[in-house]
């Protein structure tokens, strides 16, 4: 099999991440952190597709995650089915919402700013709705959810209880990386690049802008809706506040920019760094909010390229210099 560098990277990252539980899962504190890192990396990956590649700024990742989660939990309760089935319904519903927003936004020629405000309004409406409809959702106090039935399997394998959940979200993450690889290396990637540069020009060479933007919106929202129930499972509790703008969207945005937009590994790198720092700051109380705010300002003003792009430019420059020196020596 002929592997290119990008495919090799996916394989290496998968192996490294798969080795984390046996090596590092000493206590529930560590296993919780790593599970959370992977969940947020999936979120940042989804935002990378829709915001990074098609310039549609979603400020309702929390609401999409909540849509997937509440649909999964409630359908499982009402129909008495396993959440493994309703999970798919939840993700599809979230995907449909994402596709609808992108379809309307593109048809109506909404600017990125208007999409941002529109999705933010939807985010707030969602939180109000799930808090208000307490007879259905359990309201702001929420309800317990541990429905994926992992306890039986968890007993049979060694290590802390989150190990099995970690491998599930890791599978989702790897699948997301593969989807991302497929998108960026197919006609979709080309179309996304074209319409991001100049929408009118892209349309004039026959790219169906509405269709491609809607597909990007569906894919991202589906992924976000799919990972949501696992986030709930990790919290063992579903309540509106865990899907809030401040607890989801702000973090995912910072991760994506910190790691680098439009890169394969940026979302993971951003998630690792931000959640590690955030965890360290937990004991500092409000200082963590202060530092998040500073980080947000600093990143957007001075470091919009992000870590992955920054490092790979550095490496490229290094190798360029090396080659130049070698060519000087041979001449």
């Amino acid at each position: 099999m002929n592997w290119n560098w990008e495919q090799a990277r996916i394989a290496i990252v998968t192996v490294l991440l798969a080795l984390i539980p046996p090596v590092l899962f000493m206590n529930s504190y560590v296993s919780r952190l790593f599970t959370l890192i992977i969940i947020f990396a999936v979120m940042a990956m989804a935002l990378n597709i829709v915001f990074g590649h098609t310039d549609q700024l979603f400020l309702f990742s929390g609401a999409l995650m909540g849509t997937g989660s509440y649909t999964t939990v409630l359908l499982a309760q009402w129909l008495g089915i396993t959440p493994w089935i309703s999970l798919l319904a939840g993700a599809l519903l979230a995907g449909f919402v994402g596709a609808l927003v992108c379809y309307v936004a593109t048809r109506q020629n909404l600017s990125v700013l208007v999409i941002a405000i529109l999705t933010l309004a939807l985010q707030l409406a969602f939180i109000q709705f799930v808090s208000g409809a307490s007879s259905i959702t359990g309201g702001s106090t929420g309800q317990v959810f541990v429905g994926f039935g992992l306890e039986g399997i968890a007993d049979s394998i060694p290590g802390p209880e989150l190990t099995i959940l970690y491998y599930i979200v890791l599978t989702v993450f790897v699948a997301t990386m593969l989807v991302y690889y497929y998108i960026t290396h197919s006609k979709y990637g080309l179309a996304f690049d074209a319409l991001r540069q100049d929408e009118l020009a892209a349309e004039s060479v026959g790219i169906d802008v509405v269709r491609y933007k809607t597909i990007a919106g569906f894919t991202a929202a589906f992924i976000i809706g799919f990972i949501g129930p696992f986030y709930v499972q990790m919290n063992t509790y579903i309540q509106p506040s865990i899907f809030g703008f401040g607890s989801i969207d702000v973090l995912v945005l910072i991760m994506l920019i910190l790691g680098s937009l439009r890169t394969l590994l940026g979302p993971l790198v951003g998630s690792v760094i931000l959640l590690y720092v955030n965890q360290q700051l937990q004991s500092a109380g409000q200082w963590s909010t202060v530092i998040l705010g500073l980080l947000l300002m600093f990143l957007f003003l001075f470091f919009r390229q992000g870590i992955v792009t920054y490092v790979s430019t550095l490496i490229e420059e290094r190798t360029d210099i090396g080659e130049r020196i070698r060519s000087l020596g041979s001449s």
Binding site: L110, S111, A116, A125, A133, V290, L296
Partner: protein, 289 residues
């Protein structure tokens, strides 16, 4: 029965208009800065809250409420000046839609940053004392705070229009809003106008915050809600349209209060958010212009 309903409707309408005035003032803060510089200032709510906190703190030091209010406004103007000279200068270096995105994130970062700092020192709810209760006018009971808010609001709107129409600075502001290059050719320095108008927007937001706090107690987390409502009002009004913003503020305020009184507070919020979404979708060209 019908008479009681009509009477209570009138009472709710007055409360709704009061809320509408607050919405309109906050929305103006967004519209002015966005119209002039393309920055959607998500931190406007923090300035409104900071004005209240500064005033309440000063009330513990000086004995005069007027001095405390003026002092509170001066404090937020000073902070706004620092923000304008540092953060906004950096944001204005970029252009077009890049600046719009940068503006959203930088002001969101600023709001988060100030939120964290404020929480440490002001953990509970605060309000500027206003001890006049309900007023009975011919059998109708009105909240005196609502009447005060509407009164101050009318004065501020008139003053604001007089500023825009009658003063040199006001015409310069309108010129920059319409055509930046043209303004530059007329010898107007857009950057200086932006600083002045940003300070003006913060002043208006500060007054709105104080008015809000005589009707409802305010805590630091109210900042986010106030900021969001400011943005929604401005967007519904057309983002760069001053009269539209005032109309949108009054409309959404009345809509919110009636839904709140007749259906419930969760539903009231949802209605306002969904109306915003509907306006954004149907009137997109107005908003994007």
């Amino acid at each position: 029965m019908a008479q009681i309903l009509a009477a209570s409707t009138l009472e709710i309408l007055v409360d709704g208009l009061a809320r509408g005035v607050l919405f309109a003032l906050l929305g103006l803060g967004i519209t002015l800065v966005f119209g002039l510089g393309g920055v959607l200032n998500l931190a406007i709510g923090v300035f409104a809250v900071m004005a209240v906190l500064a005033t309440v703190t000063l009330l513990g030091i000086v004995n005069s409420i007027v001095a405390a209010i003026i002092g509170g406004l001066l404090v937020i103007l000073l902070i706004a000046l620092v923000v304008d000279r540092t953060l906004f200068s950096l944001v204005y270096q970029s252009e077009g839609s890049e600046r719009e995105l940068l503006g959203i994130f930088v002001t969101l970062g600023l709001a988060t940053f100030l939120d964290g700092l404020l929480y440490m020192h002001f953990p509970s709810g605060y309000s500027i004392p206003w001890r006049v209760g309900a007023i009975n006018v011919g059998g109708l009971v009105f909240q005196s705070s609502s009447l005060l808010i509407i009164g101050v609001g009318i004065v501020l709107f008139i003053a604001f229009y007089a500023f825009l129409e009658r003063t040199y600075l006001g015409s310069a502001t309108r010129t920059v809003m319409q055509d930046e290059t043209g303004a530059l050719l007329c010898g107007i320095n857009p950057r200086r106008i932006r600083t002045l108008v940003f300070l003006l927007s913060v002043l208006i937001a500060g007054i709105a915050g104080m008015l809000y706090s005589i009707a409802y107690t305010i805590n630091v987390s109210a900042e986010f809600t106030l900021g969001i409502y400011a943005v929604l009002v401005s967007v519904v009004g057309g983002v760069t349209n001053v009269t539209g913003t005032i109309a949108a503020g009054l409309f959404l305020g009345v809509l919110f209060t009636f839904s709140n009184a007749w259906i419930g507070s969760f539903v009231a919020n949802i209605i306002v958010f969904l109306v915003t979404v509907a306006v954004l979708i149907t009137k997109a060209e107005v908003v994007s212009a």
